[in-house]
Symmetry: C2
Subunit: 146 residues, 2 copies
């Protein structure tokens, strides 16, 4: 039914709940489980400013990339503790929704699992996070919104 | 993992594709599969007009309800042909997203399956149907957008 499941993680509580559901699917189907954390690229304007800055603190892209790596590592450990096997972690820079959908297509993903709200969504809980909404809209495969 | 799956059907192609995915989940988990078609209530204004109309053609609510019943029956047959068991059909009148979410809550549904676009969504394929978006946003259980 599913050969490859992609869970998007961003360090938010919703993403962790989504990850747990993705693990249940992985265990049920024996699919591979890919975890992806997307960090937003520093804007070109900001990047140009960073050229005249000192090396410390690190340029935002690098710091964001490292944070994303930590998020994926934590998620990977958590998934493994929950009994998932065949777990692989990935970090990409770009616009989250677009990058998730592109990654899913490139890696023949059958199911994308996303939290209903991400780390930067509305806090009132009434509006679907823009990332999950866009992913569900653009993806060629089914999207599970948790 | 899932004890009760709810697939929303509205006669659209997307809803049928979603139904097929719901059947796969049903077969995988042995859950009950509920099919729900929601028809929009005739507005009160229109309803008041219909009081002075003849009995033929039937009042819109009745016609819509009968159409919804046909949609559910067709979906039920299709699901059964695909090997689903424990399938039950339901028809409700009301606002689709709100009614689906309320029904899911009342019937302890674990997973809602909806088509990414319904019968009255944008045809350009770029915008997530408002029903699937609202359901994914409001539901207390995971929503699979197909």
């Amino acid at each position: 039914m599913f050969r490859r499941i992609l869970a998007a993680v961003d360090g938010s509580t919703h993403a962790m709940v989504a990850l747990e559901k993705a693990v249940e699917f992985q265990r049920l189907t024996g699919a591979e489980l890919y975890l992806l954390c997307v960090y937003k690229h520093h804007s070109l304007f900001e990047a140009s400013l960073s050229m005249v800055r000192s090396k410390e603190p690190p340029i935002p892209d690098q710091a964001l990339s490292e944070h994303a790596r930590d998020v994926v590592e934590y998620a990977k450990e958590h998934a493994t503790q929950l009994g998932a096997s065949g777990v692989r972690g990935f970090v990409k820079g770009g616009k989250p929704s677009k990058t998730i959908v592109k990654f899913a297509k490139q890696h023949d993903v059958d199911l994308i699992v996303v939290g209903s709200r991400g780390s930067d969504s509305d806090r009132d809980g009434m509006v679907l996070g823009s990332v999950s909404q866009r992913v569900a809209s653009m993806a060629k495969c089914p999207t599970l919104v948790v």
